[in-house]
Symmetry: C2
């Protein structure tokens, strides 16, 4: 592969001049610039990004460590992050933690070893010592979706409290009183928060959230299925199951279907995170939609701010309820649903 030396030789100038010509430095004569460009063309030269990074101490690369690529929510997040980063002249390296702290650690370490300019993390757990040390050491970092309390890092996330209240109002309006939740891992903020929001919303209607109605999931389909089976085995099963993410909702659907029961007649279902497929499931699933694209954009902007030495603001964007049929049909006159979206 041709290097800058080859270009210099071909153009009959020094490497310094080649570098200057290629980087738009003003003090290069038109003649020299032209010869350099011609040499670049004939040799098919492309600057070695590795060498440049070593010298300039910046890679123009962002790291993104997400909890689970197979989750459509995170896929969309990754996509919008890459889009915004590209617009700002950065590349993105994605690390998939698969909800495993050890894998998360592996990726954070690898990314840091590569000297990425900044790190976007959706932490799977409380954070490894290594990651926390990096944060304290001043590596530009931003948490997205989930965060770690007590760490001084901007957080870009979605606030689902209002949407959860809307959901409970919707469920209550449909006559449901025994409501259960499939929670995410307690080690994650979203795992805890969604339960808290749900409990608070229930309290506003004087409804309890008994321990038996809080199932412990791990944001994966399998756990949604197991927890739902547990609910169905209860002497008094819940009327509604609220899954804290879309994969666990898929598992719940599996479990109900496997027993030969129907949604929503035998058990209603709602999910956090809306995805295109929910329109076409049987029945279409009522869900809380996050402004995923905006989240990704905001996260990149906050991170680039930090890289540039600016503060980098935390952001919380509201989620919204999308009512479909998985909780039962509302009687429009009596119980208008808070939000309704036209079929796409």
């Amino acid at each position: 592969m041709a290097s800058i030396k080859d270009v210099a030789a071909e153009a009959g100038v020094s490497v310094a001049t080649v570098s200057r010509a290629l980087n738009g430095h003003p003090s290069v004569s038109a003649a020299a610039r032209e010869r350099v460009l011609a040499a670049v063309e004939t040799l098919g030269y492309r600057p070695n990004a590795v060498a440049r990074s070593l010298r300039t101490d910046q890679t123009r690369t962002l790291g993104l460590v997400i909890s689970d690529v197979m989750n459509p929510y995170f896929t969309e997040l990754a996509r919008s992050v890459e889009e915004e980063a590209r617009a700002l002249g950065y590349s993105v390296i994605i690390g998939n933690a698969d909800e495993r702290p050890d894998l998360q650690d592996h990726h954070v370490t690898t990314l840091l070893d590569r000297r990425i300019d900044g790190l976007l993390v959706s932490p799977t757990d409380g954070g490894s010592p290594h990651m926390l040390a990096a944060a304290r050491a001043g590596t530009p970092m931003v948490f997205v979706d989930r965060w770690i309390p007590g760490v001084d890092v901007p957080v870009v996330r979605s606030d689902g409290r209002a949407a959860v209240r809307d959901l409970v109002a919707h469920l209550h309006g449909l006559g449901h009183r025994r409501l259960a939740i499939i929670a995410g891992p307690a080690a994650t903020t979203t795992g805890r928060e969604r339960v808290d929001a749900f409990r608070e919303a229930l309290a506003a209607y004087g409804l309890p959230l008994p321990a038996a109605y809080i199932g412990q999931g791990d944001f994966q389909a399998g756990s949604g299925r197991r927890v739902t089976e547990g609910f169905l085995d209860l002497p008094e099963p819940p009327e509604v199951v609220f899954a804290a993410d879309n994969l666990m909702a898929l598992g719940a659907l599996d479990a109900v279907r496997a027993r030969g029961l129907r949604v929503p007649e035998d058990m209603a279902l709602a999910a956090f995170d809306d995805i295109p497929w929910f329109v076409h499931t049987d029945p279409p699933v009522t869900a809380i939609a996050q402004p995923t694209r905006d989240l990704g954009r905001a996260a990149v902007r906050a991170l680039v701010d930090r890289i540039a030495g600016r503060p980098g603001a935390s952001v919380a964007l509201p989620a919204r309820l999308v009512v479909r049929r998985s909780c039962g049909e509302a009687n429009p006159q009596e119980h208008p649903s808070p939000v309704r979206r036209s079929t796409p």
Copy 2:
């Protein structure tokens, strides 16, 4: 950030000894090794991968350029590629082409500039001059899922011919005679191949595939919807629509639903690429499943072979038909379906 010099100073040895100690070189005394390790520990030293790459001329990184991250098939492919690569000591940088040749080019260029050790590509089109030049120049490269004819690069893909024959047999057995297909872009091999396989399979039953029954899609949901609307507007609409990927099947489902029609009564549906959600759509969708995990693994192995100077073999793994209800219920006695899979 601490460099190798700092470690050398702290341990009271030269940088050469530090490097040797850290890379398991045999001729380092136990005493020196211990002092180095201690210094590494106290300084929290991590080798700079950028510097190492510059010197050794290898990044231990693979590039993966896929057509569309939002497509669950490619997401799963990306995941298995990363898994296998990690097992072999490589990192993976994913580039999402979004079915756009210009974006594909951008990512190939960026990846090559970073001097990745090898490139895995699922080409969106005939290939940019730049990519083809890189292939000819000897950059280790492997095509996965799709390929570019006439380029001397190993291809790891799935062979769907037998599964398509099974599908047509299944459809014919259900009494369907007017079968249509939503094709992928003609610029892609999978776009053309699936149509060819479908046409051949139909021919075996003496069925035609008229031009009006070949819709031109682009592997995105929107095109599936538009094409299906076109089919429905035909004086004699097809009885079955076979979508060449899962996103176009989603669009087809949208279109049928929007007209207030039912699947499979008013129009049957089948898709290439199986995804978990197809179990829960209304109705569950009959699909052709690719051995995605194996594909990813095989692709990485072929690429690593090429990197190591070994030939790197092309692979074609068979896909298989998964019958569900979107084409109608078979009468088990009369028309046993070729393959049936238990609900997960």
